[in-house]
């Protein structure tokens, strides 16, 4: 178990290094930050001095090394536009993003699994077909478009929820539901498909031969087997959620990391972008690591092997 964990940890670190390097290179080649910072009337000399003080006159690899070294101490540089520590900006926005993504994740997983199991309990019924159809629909339209439609219905037409922004819990509902819907649809289908597949296996026949009720067979035997492999999927879905959050946060004017990153890209504030990418990528890597370890803990087969 220890070597397994260690291996995964090393892998995660190298991946993080790769991500940060790529981001750095892209950011580095996307334009000269001095043009953003320096006043229009700055002389060439002043610019060179600024460049020097920012360390931009050093070789790229050297700059990258310095950046990583500082990043390890929590220093992600200073925003060229807002003149505030990037880590401070991120610390301000991150909780909002976590709140939104967390709420969406819980919604999608909880309801998705429940609906999937429901479909299997009432398989081939009208309910099954309706749920399956809706779960397909949730996947074929862009998530943010669904958000717009929801806004039209709930905020504009019926006026029961606020259009955008953040504040009390009601502000969270629309963006969280919007963010959750595509994942929810996918989970429903995966759970349903997984359960149906598991129901074909020998041990389900054994469970039936023991005289267990259909409920015991489905929930006690099939569900656990069907849901286990979905732990990995859940990790991917969480990544997907964070990815879509960039758009959803923008649509709903949610003050999270995603919206800040999108704005920063548009303003070419590349240290902010770089910081956001790094934090999010670190989150991804951590999630994947957690999923791998979690899987090893909950699946007795993997647990036994390592």
């Amino acid at each position: 178990m220890l070597s397994f964990t260690l291996g995964k940890l090393i892998r995660a670190l190298t991946v993080l290094l790769g991500v940060s390097f790529l981001t750095f290179i892209i950011g580095h080649s996307s334009g000269d930050p001095v043009r953003l910072i320096a006043r229009g009337d700055a002389t060439e000399e002043q610019r060179a001095q600024l460049r020097h003080s920012l360390g931009l006159d050093r070789p790229v690899l050297e700059q990258y090394r310095i950046y990583v070294g500082k990043a390890l101490h929590g220093d992600l540089g200073v925003s060229y536009r807002q003149h505030v520590d990037v880590s401070r900006l991120i610390a301000l926005r991150l909780p909002n993003s976590l709140e939104l993504a967390g709420a969406a994740f819980v919604l999608a997983m909880g309801i998705g699994c429940a609906l999937g199991v429901l479909c299997v309990i009432y398989r081939d019924s009208v309910l099954d077909n309706v749920i399956a159809g809706l779960s397909v629909l949730a996947q074929v339209v862009p998530g943010f478009w669904l958000g717009l439609v929801l806004v039209l219905l709930f905020a504009v037409h019926w006026r029961v929820l606020p259009v955008s922004g953040s504040g009390d819990l009601t502000h969270l509902i629309l963006p969280a539901v919007t963010l959750a819907l595509p994942t929810l649809g996918r989970m429903t289908r995966l759970v349903r498909g997984g359960m149906l597949e598991v129901l074909q296996s020998d041990y389900i026949r054994t469970a039936r031969a023991k005289g267990l009720s259909e409920r015991q067979v489905l929930l006690g035997h099939a569900a656990k087997n069907a849901l286990l492999p979905l732990v990995t999927q859940a990790g991917l879905e969480l990544g997907d959620l964070v990815g879509s959050a960039f758009i959803i946060e923008t649509v709903f004017a949610w003050p999270g990391l995603g919206r800040m990153a999108v704005n920063a890209v548009q303003q070419r504030d590349f240290l902010v972008v770089q910081g956001c990418v790094l934090v999010i990528a670190a989150g991804f890597v951590l999630i994947n690591l957690a999923v791998d370890l979690l899987y090893a803990v909950i699946d007795p087969r993997v647990r036994g092997r390592s």
């Binding site: 892209i26 074929v140 548009q266 890597v285």
Partner: protein
């Protein structure tokens, strides 16, 4: 029975294929189907709701009059037919005093006909989706074949690349790159291709691993075939089926992502009539002119549903055990 015959008999694949054909016809016949010029700005006819009419602009009559079948009956049909197959409800009804244009799905913020832009938008969305799909299939399959066939350090390296890619907040990378490169159709296609190659690489690698040690591949080696020949003549063709399945799903993803990027304003040029740019255009008018944003969403849903059904059918055919 041939593969295609079986595919047609598979219900989801058949439905998907029909939907895609409809979209393809709409895209190809866009000039014939569109009731108005999708680029032409009409400041006087801004934000008109569906089913309203506007005075015909002089320039508009140039090519448009030809296919102006001008029957008022079609106009009474439900306006939600965004797929455009009912789009010949077109043109200039020569009624009463002056010629007017019927805007079946209304007009946008600068007075362009929404239906016409939807119809022309199908060209952009399908092209972008298809091109991105082909590019990423080529790239991803190549990576997959190479890593599966050679193994060892090549495999570790590509595996690491896959991990890096998957840990990247891709959409942000896309926004970043597009911001740096400047938008444009070609850039969007390249970025989208970059988004999905991982899926091909994974599945092709798995296939190659299972095919590699089969008799006929070893026989090819024994007869002295070159590595390249073995890869491209003996191994790659056998991975085509799963590639097709992945391709249909990645095309769906590409269309959705394009819409997302254009919606954020970093994708295609805003004047290009694409479904994504239309969504973006309508965003600010959500409260007053709901039709601008909702219609392209429906079009996207229709197309992506077609692609996904087709992929679903393919998968069912290739793997009958899979119930998903």
């Amino acid at each position: 029975m041939s593969f295609w015959a079986r595919l047609i008999r598979c219900p989801p694949a058949r439905r998907g294929l029909v939907m895609l054909l409809v979209m393809a016809v709409v895209a190809l016949a866009a000039p014939l189907l569109a009731p108005a010029d999708p680029w032409k700005v009409h400041p006087a006819a801004r934000l008109l709701p569906p089913l309203s009419r506007s005075a015909v602009d002089g320039a508009d009559a140039l090519g448009r009059g030809a296919n102006a079948s001008g029957n008022g009956t079609n106009a009474s049909g439900p306006g939600a037919d965004a797929s455009g197959n009912g789009a010949n409800a077109s043109g200039n009804a020569h009624t009463g005093a002056g010629a007017t244009t019927l805007h079946l799905l209304g007009t946008d913020s600068v007075g362009r006909d929404v239906l016409s832009r939807l119809i022309y938008g199908s060209r952009v969305s399908l092209t972008v989706g298809f091109a991105a799909m082909v590019l990423s299939a080529l790239f991803g399959s190549l990576i997959g074949v190479v890593s599966g066939y050679f193994g060892g350090i090549v495999e570790s390296l590509t595996g690491w690349l896959v991990d890096v890619q998957l840990s990247f907040p891709f959409l942000l990378l896309a926004i970043f790159l597009l911001g740096a490169l400047g938008g444009g159709t070609l850039a969007v296609i390249l970025i989208l291709a970059l988004a999905t190659w991982v899926n091909y690489a994974r599945i092709v690698r798995a296939q190659v691993l299972s095919i590699k040690n089969q008799g006929y591949v070893e026989a090819a080696h024994a007869t002295g075939a070159s590595v390249g020949r073995v890869l491209f003549v003996h191994i790659l063709p056998n991975t085509l089926a799963p590639i097709c399945v992945v391709a249909s799903f990645s095309m769906a993803q590409a269309i959705l992502t394009e819409a997302g990027l254009s919606f954020l304003g970093v994708g295609l040029d805003p004047s290009t009539p694409s479904w994504g740019t239309m969504l973006n255009d309508g965003r600010d008018y959500l409260l007053t002119a709901w039709w601008i944003s909702t219609m392209p969403g429906i079009a996207i849903g229709f197309t992506v549903l077609g692609v996904m059904l087709f992929g679903e059918g393919l998968r069912e055919l290739l793997d009958p055990r899979s119930l998903r």
